[in-house]
Structures are given as structure tokens and as C-alpha cells.
């Protein structure tokens, strides 16, 4: 029996039983395959190959050696006491996905899917990218496996992430700036899908997050679940217990699904997904799909998405290109409705303040994406302090523990951050020439 109003929010879904290991294609009412028929055979092939690979010891061992010897797994779990000192009585640990090869969690999924692509006999990888991290990871895997690579990137993003464009080109990938629509991540996905419809015989679409049609949401999570498994074991080893909360930023939501998955069936661990609140929910300029609360279909999945009354997608806005996506993975939609995870928006201001604090207190420059999760950790810690649950008098061993997924490093964001904090070199004196003065002027960091 189908629901008569499937495109409205269905909060408070009941769910009994384990949360881990959901296979899709549906997560409660979310997910599915809202795709052109032309691509269904390819999705079936990916699904079949993925199911077989999971059962194949040779595949698992290949994946594990690449994780260990190429990606640099396991990634560290680093306690950050000077950062956490903002709120006494709270210990904060960072899951250091920023230390992976290529600088973010994205490589976990890319290596896995590239192995699958090779098994399927594909010779070309295509990908969308927002911040460029997924594009760089895909270009890296293509170089490693000797495959062709085309990366679609919104023109707006190629400008704010110019460094990553150069990295992809150095790695031998073709970067195609997308000049239609809002020229950001969602439009890059549209272009990648259009490419795939025409090239599916030779090409694997290496989708970079837990969105899209089945099997992508469950498959991408499966490749990232290593984050949560490691983090759980590491926090147990370092503190002797499970954390009180786990924090991750959510655009499409792949790093969050990866770390959440390890803790889904530990009910005492609160899970927080931090969405990009942009310039504020009341401005409409944000990327907080779940917080906005409208369900629909985008890029193959039923989920929460930013849309107007007619169902047209609304352009999202975030200081971080990687969270600038107007929808969210369907499993997150389900975790929200069941109440298992909590989703909150973090504004650009609050995010950048956490970004700066981590730089100054710990000597770690985080990705702006991940800084949303850092801000979420400080916010939750202060909430505990305000409620009197933690204080300077909290005895040692009784502190609250938060694990933050530091999904990426901030090298790519240095110029955005420098503009935000007005740290660019002073404009030369007038005789220095107009061009130099224009180039050096912070051009509205919030644009």
C-alpha cells in the first residue's frame, strides 16, 4: 500500500531492531531508484558486482591492502585537549580522515569503487565534485589503476577550489567546468549522469557520496564504514568506554554515514549530523536539507531536499563547497525520522570560528566542511555545561567524550579562510598597480 502524500515529512518513524547494515534500496520510505531506464542495467551490474565482491576474500584482501599501504589506514584518533579546553569537563577526539592519502575520507569509497569498476571491465571513471576532494581522489585512483578520468565540477566551484582543479589535472584527469544551472555540485551530478547515460558501456560513474539511486547509498556507506569501526575500537582503547556523542558534517553525508555506522547500535552514543547553515536558516542561503524538512526526489533517491513549492530544486549556499548540495543521503533522512541521529545547522560564522580555534590550539588546519562538525562539538559541550552536566569540577575519568570526524584537511580552503579572516597581504600602494590591488582585495568572503 502506498502513501497518498509521500512527499511530505514523515517524522517519528518507528524502527525496531538493528540500525546497522541496512542494504537498501529503501531506508524506510527513502532511497529507491528514480532514474532513467537507460541506467537501470548499469545500476544492476554495479549492484551485482558489489554483492559478489563483499563475499570474495580476494576482493576484501585487495581492498584492505590498499587501505593499509596506499591510503594510510587506520587513520589516527587524536585527542585535542587545548581545543576542548573551551568547555571544561569535556574530552574531544578527532578521527583523522584528513591524514588519508589525498587529504580526506573520500579515498575510502573511491578505492573501493575503482576496484569494482576494474572487475566490471570499465576503462573510464567519471565523477562529480564540489570541493574537489572527491574529484582528486577519483583522479588519483584512475592514475593508480591506469584508467581514463573525467571530473565534472560546477564552474563556481572550479573558481573557489582552483588548487584542487590543478591537482586533478596534474593527476591526468580531464576537469569539465559545468556552466549550467547553479554551477555547483548538483549541476555537476546532472552532467555526470548525462555523460554516463551515453558512455555506460565503458564507464563507471564513481558517485562520491551516500546519495543517488540504489546501490550507491548503501555501497558508498559500506566503503566508509571503516571510519566508524576504527574510531569505535580506538576510543575504547584510549578511554576504556564509548563516547557520549559522535559528530560529523553532512552535505550528501558520506563521512557521517561512515562514522555513524560503527555506533548505530550503541544506543548510549548520540549521533549528530551538522548541516551547512550557510548565512542562516532565515536567509534561505544555506544547504540544510533535513533542517528545512521537505521530502522529494533528486538524483535518483527519495530524501530530504531543498525545493520550492513546485518541486524545483533551490540553489544551496555554503562557505564550504563540499556541503553545498541541496539534498542529503536517504539513510540520513531515515535516521532523522527514526530519531536515531540528530541533525542541526551550523552557520558559516560558527563554523569558521571553530576552524580558527582548531588551527590556533592544536596546529591542525581542518577542511571547512569538517569545521561544521567541530562547531557542533563545541555547541554540544556548551549545552552540557549550561545544563550543569559538566564543569571544571567534573572529576577525572567522568568527563563527557565527543568524537568528531575530521573528514578532511584544510589546504584547499586556505584562500577562502584567508579572505574570511582578512589575512591576505595588504594591497600594495597605488603605484603598485591596479591589477595587484584588485587581486589582493578580499572580495566579500561571504559571497
Amino acid at each position: 500500500m502506498t502513501d497518498s502524500t509521500p512527499f511530505t515529512q514523515q517524522p517519528d518513524l518507528q524502527h525496531d531492531g538493528p540500525y546497522q547494515g541496512q542494504q537498501g534500496p529503501y531506508f524506510g520510505p527513502y532511497g529507491g531508484r528514480w532514474m532513467p531506464e537507460s541506467l537501470i542495467a548499469a545500476l544492476d551490474e554495479v549492484d551485482r558486482t558489489f554483492q559478489q565482491a563483499q563475499e570474495d576474500p580476494e576482493f576484501i584482501s585487495e581492498l584492505e591492502s590498499l587501505y593499509a599501504d596506499y591510503v594510510n589506514r587506520p587513520s589516527l584518533l587524536t585527542e585535542v585537549p587545548r581545543f576542548a579546553a573551551a568547555v571544561p569537563g569535556v574530552r574531544i577526539f578527532l578521527k583523522r580522515e584528513d591524514l588519508n592519502h589525498t587529504g580526506s575520507h573520500k579515498i575510502n569509497n573511491v578505492i573501493g569503487q575503482a576496484l569494482l569498476a576494474r572487475r566490471m571491465g570499465k576503462i573510464r571513471l567519471i565523477a562529480e565534485t564540489g570541493a574537489g576532494q572527491h574529484g582528486v581522489a577519483t583522479a588519483t585512483a584512475a592514475a593508480l589503476f591506469g584508467m581514463e578520468c573525467t571530473v565534472y565540477m560546477g564552474e563556481a566551484d572550479t573558481q573557489r577550489q582552483a588548487l584542487n582543479v590543478a591537482r586533478m589535472r596534474l593527476l591526468g584527469a580531464e576537469v569539465v567546468p559545468v556552466t549550467v544551472g547553479a554551477r555547483t555540485l548538483k549541476d555537476a551530478i546532472n552532467e555526470a549522469l548525462r555523460d554516463w547515460v551515453a558512455s555506460v558501456e565503458t564507464t563507471h560513474y564513481l558517485l562520491g557520496t551516500v546519495t543517488g539511486p540504489a546501490p550507491f547509498p548503501a555501497m558508498v556507506r559500506w566503503f566508509h564504514r571503516v571510519i566508524g569501526e576504527e574510531a569505535r575500537a580506538q576510543v575504547l582503547a584510549q578511554t576504556g568506554r564509548l563516547p557520549d556523542a559522535v559528530m560529523a558534517c553532512v552535505g550528501g553525508g558520506s563521512n557521517a554515514m561512515g562514522i555513524f555506522h560503527g555506533f548505530l547500535d550503541d544506543p548510549e552514543v548520540q549521533l549528530y549530523g551538522l548541516e551547512a547553515g550557510g548565512e542562516g536558516m532565515d536567509t534561505g542561503r544555506h544547504a540544510a536539507s533535513i533542517t528545512l524538512g521537505r521530502t522529494g526526489v533528486l538524483h535518483g533517491a527519495r530524501t530530504y531536499l531543498m525545493q520550492n513549492e513546485d518541486g524545483q530544486t533551490i540553489d544551496s549556499h555554503s562557505i564550504s563547497a563540499g556541503l553545498d548540495y541541496p539534498a542529503v543521503g536517504p539513510e540520513h533522512a531515515w535516521l532523522h525520522d527514526t530519531g536515531r541521529a540528530i541533525y542541526e545547522p551550523v552557520n558559516d560564522d560558527e563554523c569558521m570560528s571553530a576552524f580558527e580555534r582548531l588551527c590556533r590550539t592544536e596546529g591542525i588546519i581542518p577542511a571547512i566542511e569538517s569545521s561544521h562538525a567541530l562547531a557542533g562539538a563545541l555547541r554540544l559541550a556548551r549545552r552540557w555545561a549550561d545544563a550543569g552536566e559538566v564543569s571544571a569540577d567534573t572529576p577525572s575519568g567522568q568527563e563527557r567524550i565527543i568524537v568528531v570526524n575530521l573528514s578532511g584537511r584544510g589546504d584547499k580552503d586556505v584562500s577562502t579562510a584567508a579572505k574570511w579572516f582578512d589575512m591576505l597581504p595588504d594591497a600594495p600602494t597605488p603605484e603598485g598597480g591596479d591589477a595587484a590591488a584588485v587581486a589582493a582585495r578580499p572580495e566579500g568572503a561571504q559571497d
Partner: protein
């Protein structure tokens, strides 16, 4: 919610539902013609001119007119249609204006008028409400480029309730099992995608088209029409040898862009020359 529904949802073609699209294609067949199906975007370049263009199309030989609703993320469309529909959206087009267009075109032509839409626009309005309003406007059905039968339970129910045709796509990559499923749930005609790709005029009709049509016919589809890359009368003549109809989109949109509704009429008349089937023994 659906307790008052008079009939059960049927996943098979329900012969009790009158199919306006079927009638239009069968009229063409009876007249010795390949059915001509023309696509135009709703509201392009204005609502008024999109009506005039569709009327020109209907009066110059189209048996079925497909009115596409502009959508923000049209993954099956190539650059010409994308450029047209994004202009319409930028000008503030609202989805429910499509009903006014369908009504006007239905009243002024003999063609069956179907809507082509990406599914989120239907879902947002509510599948039942959309279907009811389309039927009230005289519409014949919906072409659904990003809806596969597995996700279409609600549409099956609504299309049966309001007597609308459901035109699903089949592709060169569709397995025989999928072609059977698509054939079984479609009503009006099966939309045979001629090529692995997005919309856009091509010099030649793909070789894959004939086998796509043959597979659907073998699966029992009474009417299979070929779209994607069809832009000239000779394409239609060729398609007419094995298919029941030919679908032209991008070429008409380009004509409308460059020459207004009158150019659509001229191109439709030219395309119609290709619909006449050679007499067979």
C-alpha cells in the same frame, strides 16, 4: 485515503480505461501513416507562444503532442532543451500553468496531448492531484523519463483512476525481463529510446532503435514509438518501417527558438511528409 477508489490498482493494461493516445496512434495507422509525436516545452518562449506552437504542431501533422514541464535538474535533456527550459524557469514558470496549456491545445487541435515530466514535480503536487488536474484539462497521459515501474505504484493507481496513459521508456540497455515489465505497465505506447544518451538532434537514427522496438513488440507492446535523435522526415520514414510512431523534440524546440510558432508549423508539415507509409503488397 484511497478507500473510495472504484477499482483496484492494476499493474496490467486495463482495457476498461479509454486511451486517447492509443486512439490517436491507431487513427494514423488506419490512414497508412507512422504516428508523429512532437515535443515542446511548456511556457517556451512564453505561455502564449508555447500554446500557439503546439497548435501549429497539431494542425500540421502531429498525432500526439508532448508538453514538457521545465525542471531544474533535467538529466535526460541535452543542451537545446536545457537552454529553453532554464529560460522558462528563470521567467517564473509555475508547474500548474501546464494544465492551462494542455487545455488550450486540446481544445484547438485533434491531437492527443500528453505531459512529459520529471517525477519530483508530480510528487510535490501529489500524484493524485496532478493526475486529476491533468485529466480535467483534457490531457491524455504522462511520459515519465525518470520513473521506472518499480517506483510507480501510486502512478498506476492514479492513472487508472483518471483514465490517463502511462508512457514508460525502454532503452537499448533494458534486459528482456525489464522490457516485459515496462510493456506490461505502459498504456498508450511504449517510448523506445533509440540511443544511449540524452535528447538532441543527431544525423542518423541509431542502429539500436530497431532492436529496441523489436524487443518491445516481442514483449507484447502494441505500440512502440521511437525518440531521441529524430529530427528529419527521412528519419521518420526509416523508423516507420519497424515502429508505430516517431518522436521529435530538439529539432522542434530549435525551430521555435529561431522562428517562433510559425516555424514549428513549417517543420511539422515537413516532418509529416515522412510519415506516409509506402504501400505494402
Amino acid at each position: 485515503m484511497s478507500a473510495s477508489t472504484p477499482q483496484d490498482t492494476s499493474r496490467t493494461q486495463d482495457s476498461s480505461v479509454r486511451s486517447l493516445t492509443t486512439e490517436a496512434i491507431e487513427r494514423a495507422r488506419a490512414a497508412g501513416r507512422t504516428a508523429l509525436i512532437g515535443y515542446l516545452p511548456a511556457g517556451y518562449p512564453t505561455v502564449e507562444d508555447s500554446i500557439e506552437a503546439a497548435v501549429e504542431l497539431g494542425r500540421n501533422g502531429a498525432d500526439v503532442i508532448e508538453i514538457g514541464i521545465p525542471y531544474s535538474d533535467p538529466v535526460m535533456d541535452g543542451p537545446v532543451i536545457q537552454a529553453a527550459t532554464s529560460q522558462v524557469l528563470a521567467d517564473g514558470f509555475r508547474v500548474d500553468q501546464v494544465f492551462e496549456i494542455v487545455r488550450a491545445v486540446t481544445e484547438r487541435t485533434d491531437a492527443a496531448v500528453v505531459v512529459m515530466t520529471y517525477w519530483n514535480l508530480v510528487g510535490r503536487m501529489g500524484v493524485d492531484a496532478f493526475a486529476r488536474r491533468l485529466a480535467e484539462a483534457g490531457g491524455a497521459g504522462i511520459v515519465t523519463p525518470d520513473l521506472v515501474p518499480e517506483e510507480a505504484e501510486e502512478w498506476f493507481a492514479a492513472s487508472d483512476r483518471y483514465g490517463l496513459d502511462r508512457i514508460f521508456l525502454t532503452a537499448p540497455s533494458s534486459t528482456p525481463e525489464r522490457v516485459r515489465l515496462i510493456t506490461e505497465v505502459s498504456r498508450g505506447f511504449v517510448y523506445g529510446v533509440s540511443v544511449m544518451g540524452v535528447t538532441g538532434a543527431r544525423d542518423q537514427v541509431s542502429n539500436a532503435a530497431e532492436s529496441v522496438v523489436a524487443a518491445a513488440h516481442e514483449a507484447g507492446a502494441p505500440r512502440v514509438c521511437v525518440g531521441l535523435g529524430v529530427s528529419r522526415p527521412e528519419h521518420i520514414r526509416e523508423i516507420g518501417r519497424y515502429a508505430d510512431g516517431a518522436i521529435v523534440g530538439t529539432a522542434l524546440v530549435a525551430a521555435l527558438r529561431d522562428g517562433g510558432p510559425a516555424a514549428v508549423g513549417r517543420l511539422a508539415a515537413d516532418l509529416a511528409r515522412g510519415t506516409q507509409r509506402e504501400a505494402t503488397a
